[in-house]
């Protein structure tokens, strides 16, 4: 619609396998990234700390969940548990290793979460579908219990709820919301790129083969053990990194109750409403699930103000939230990503209809 796709030829394999084959798409993405980087200069503290940072962090976690559920087809309800592992690992690494740069700590905590993910992913070799989902709940409950129960994880803090350390890298303390935002943005961009490439490559194809028809995949020579555990590991890595960022850049406290089962459910929502098996879907879904309750709260308070009892508005918000989810699933079960795809298709043809 806005630009001509004609005349752009790909003359080498490298060009053919680009993520953004069209020049205009590439330019668009660069502009988007620059806009995202410059956003803190126009956004106020509320938007940064309460909307953008959690959106980015939760998108990352949704990405992890999408890898496991969307690409590899393993139904999992334990994402919040792996986030908790990441958060506590990061806290302990920064605590016990002096001078470790934040990014390194985050990466290592992702690795810790990945290891835990492999352990709890072992049942997936034998259990499938809904049963696996309930089995992953075991990991969720166990991890949160273990992190809460053994005081070593919290460095024997008498209060039991620990404050996250400041983000220190290269001698600089990333304390202001702006700086936190940039750190989070950088990590999320890099990991998203990684995920996109994994999904497009042989790794992702292996996952999708296992998702679609795992017996056939095994017959073809794909090792189910390796593929499934790899999916669990990588997904947990993303969840772990997301959890570390969630605790350090957003909540600024590391406590197990923040990673309870309702967070797992929210992430599940994000993935399904965003679009299962898409990278874009993780971002869109995270935005929707994060913003909808806030929007409803603001909407009701500005419309009804003090005239209606706040308890009623709060209950109404819950009802509407659930109803919107149901309506969404009825009208577009493939999620926002599909809506976006359809929009793009229409825009390509506009003003023509076909």
């Amino acid at each position: 619609m806005f630009y001509r796709e004609a005349g752009q030829f790909r003359t080498s394999y490298a060009q053919d396998s680009q993520i953004f084959p069209l020049r205009q798409d590439r330019i668009g993405m660069v502009i988007l990234l620059i806009a995202a980087a410059l956003l803190p200069f126009v956004a106020n503290a509320y938007w940064l700390t309460a909307i953008l940072i959690p959106w980015l962090v939760l998108s990352l976690v949704a990405l992890g969940q999408n890898i496991l559920m969307g690409y590899a087809g393993q139904l999992s309800l334990g994402s919040a548990g792996f986030m908790a592992v990441g958060a506590f690992a990061c806290y302990n690494l920064i605590l016990r290793i002096d001078g470790i740069p934040f990014v390194v700590a985050v990466a290592l905590s992702g690795v810790c979460a990945a290891l835990v993910g492999i352990v709890f992913g072992l049942p997936s070799l034998r259990i499938r579908g809904l049963y696996l989902a309930v089995a992953t709940l075991a990991s969720q409950f166990f991890i949160v219990w273990a992190l809460d129960k053994f005081p070593w994880f919290k460095n024997y803090d008498p209060a039991g709820v620990i404050t996250a350390q400041p983000i220190i890298m290269f001698g600089h303390n990333f304390a202001s919301p702006r700086e936190k935002y940039w750190v989070v943005l950088a990590i999320v961009v890099v990991l998203t790129l990684l995920a996109k490439n994994m999904a497009r490559g042989s790794v992702g194809r292996g996952w999708m083969a296992v998702r679609d028809m795992d017996v056939a995949a095994e017959v073809m020579g794909l090792s189910l053990l390796r593929t499934k555990l790899q999916a669990f590991a990588i997904s947990s890595f993303y969840c772990g990194v997301g959890g570390a960022l969630f605790a350090f850049a957003y909540l600024q406290t590391v406590e197990p109750s923040a990673f309870a089962i309702d967070l797992s459910f929210r992430i599940l929502f994000m993935v399904i409403i965003g679009g299962l098996g898409t990278i874009m879907g993780s971002f869109l879904g995270a935005g929707f699930i994060l913003l909808m309750p806030i929007f409803l709260n603001i909407f009701f308070h500005s419309v009804f103000g003090k005239s209606v009892d706040a308890t009623i508005t709060s209950a109404l918000e819950q009802v509407i939230f659930g109803a919107i989810i149901i309506v969404f699933l009825i009208f577009e079960p493939l999620g926002f990503a599909r809506l976006w795809q359809l929009t793009k298709e229409r825009l390509r043809l506009w003003p023509f209809s076909h």
């Binding site: 809460d148 909540l251 923040a258 929007f295 909407f299 308070h301 308890t311 709060s314 918000e317």
Partner: protein, 451 residues
């Protein structure tokens, strides 16, 4: 192509919705020209979910008192009190979002934040100092914030858990006939398996050691609707007393009914302030009769509560959906908390010569720190007996450290004692200072000097 049609038709709707969203957000933070100065308070209420009974009572009390001050006195020295609510569902992440959303209104910042719970308090505690907001923990939250040198912006005005457990153990000793009679007895600390449940343990262990009491710690994993195994253990251990430290009405009332099922006398159970309210006792029915509860805000129709009914509810502006809840434990606790806010505001206006004007966070903090509520003041306010008298200072950010013991008689709470202090306040203070010092060291904070 149903999706197509829907998409086509929905696009304008979606656009309108997005515009509406933008408008709503913008308007909620828009500048408003005020004729009369208004002091703004942000209220992070939790009106739905598992803690809704607690949240509606507590925040309802706060809102009623703010409206009462406006209606009866025209505000504080002519400054009207306004507030905005934000639903947190008692969830740490939502509390952070609400904190950020409520922080600014127009050109004013909120001056005090009360999360009614430890998870929320911890989530925002690090933002208080940079944002200049007072965290007024009313009997919950970070106990070592009582050391005001390390935590200038955090207060614990209505007692904290270490003081509470000391008072309760003393009460038990009293019932047994003296501390020396406690030697060899068994106390079970039945608690929710979270940080909040384990909070009193450091103090409890010390006291138990000193008195020669056998302390057994039994945890209940949330939600705690099934406590059979815990209570069978209690019966096996032949406990003499059980201190119950739960959260959420399901757990609290289930403990009582399960105790009844295993035949453990309710007169040997002592509940925590956050576990023992009418909402916890009523579902357990007759089984709850005899349970002891500690209170930092006594229930009942004190003169102030009656006046609120007369002024606010008669005009139809009461916040409680069920007016029968006025005067219950959580309601009075909320009123007590709001009384402190207003008194702190009065102090702030007085100290900084800003009578009739709005105050900033730093000024409010000074006002809160200068709170000196003695018995006369309590009588004047109409809450003598509802809240304990106390005085705060630069180094001492915990209030009175006194609690009243009450007992459930089947339909209401009967207050048994007057305000009882912990027997060994110096010991508790030492624990607090040690903990605060450890925190300061770990986080490179220099405690401020208090003259």
């Amino acid at each position: 192509m149903m999706i197509d049609t829907i998409l086509r038709r929905a696009m304008p709707g979606i656009a309108a919705l997005a515009a509406g969203f933008a408008l709503a957000t913008a308007s909620s933070v828009a500048l408003a020209q005020q004729e009369q100065p208004e002091q703004y308070f942000g209220i992070p209420s939790s009106r739905v979910g598992p803690y809704s009974a607690m949240g509606t009572g507590y925040y309802g009390g706060i809102i009623d008192y703010l409206n009462y001050v406006n209606m009866k006195f025209g505000g504080v020295n002519g400054v009207k009190l306004t507030y905005d609510e934000c639903e947190t569902e008692y969830n740490a992440a939502r509390t952070v979002e609400c904190y950020q959303r409520l922080l600014n209104k127009g050109d004013q910042k909120m001056v005090v934040f009360d999360t009614l719970g430890t998870p929320g308090a911890y989530a925002v505690i690090g933002r208080m100092a940079p944002d200049n907001v007072v965290l007024a923990q009313y009997g919950y939250g970070r106990t070592d914030a009582a050391d005001g040198r390390v935590w200038p912006w955090v207060f614990n005005a209505a007692g904290h858990y270490w003081g509470q457990i000391a008072v309760k153990m003393n009460f038990m000793a009293q019932k047994e006939g003296g501390i020396d009679k406690m030697k060899g007895k068994t106390i079970v600390h039945l608690h929710i398996d979270t940080a909040y449940g384990r909070e009193p343990l450091p103090a409890m262990r010390e006291i138990a050691k000193e008195w020669g009491v056998k302390l057994i710690e039994i945890a209940i994993p949330p939600p705690g609707l099934e406590q059979q195994s815990q209570w069978l253990q209690i019966r096996k251990e032949k406990a003499d007393w059980v201190t119950f430290w739960g959260a959420g009405s399901g757990m609290n009332s289930t403990a009582i009914t399960t105790a009844a099922r295993v035949g453990f006398p309710r007169e040997r159970m002592v509940y925590v302030t956050f576990g023992g309210a009418e909402e916890d006792m009523i579902p357990a029915g007759d089984a709850a009769k005899g349970t002891y509860v500690a209170a930092n805000a006594a229930p009942g129709k004190f003169p102030l509560i009656q006046d609120i009914e007369k002024v606010v509810y008669a005009a139809g502006k009461g916040n409680m959906q069920n007016p029968q809840r006025v005067g219950t434990v959580y309601y009075n606790r909320g009123v007590g908390a709001a009384v402190m806010w207003v008194e702190a505001l009065k102090n702030a206006q007085r100290i900084h010569n800003k009578a009739g004007k709005t105050v900033t966070g730093a000024e409010f903090r000074d006002g809160y720190e200068a709170l000196d509520i003695n018995d006369n003041k309590l009588k004047e306010l109409g809450i003598l007996g509802m809240s304990a008298p106390f005085k705060m200072s630069c180094a001492k950010h915990d209030g009175s450290e006194r609690f009243r013991m009450m007992q459930w008689d089947g339909t209401k709470f009967v207050l048994l004692t007057d305000w009882v202090a912990a027997p060994n306040p110096a010991f508790i203070r030492k624990l607090i200072e040690d903990s605060a010092a450890k925190y300061a060291a770990e986080n490179n904070i220099t405690p401020r000097q208090c003259s």
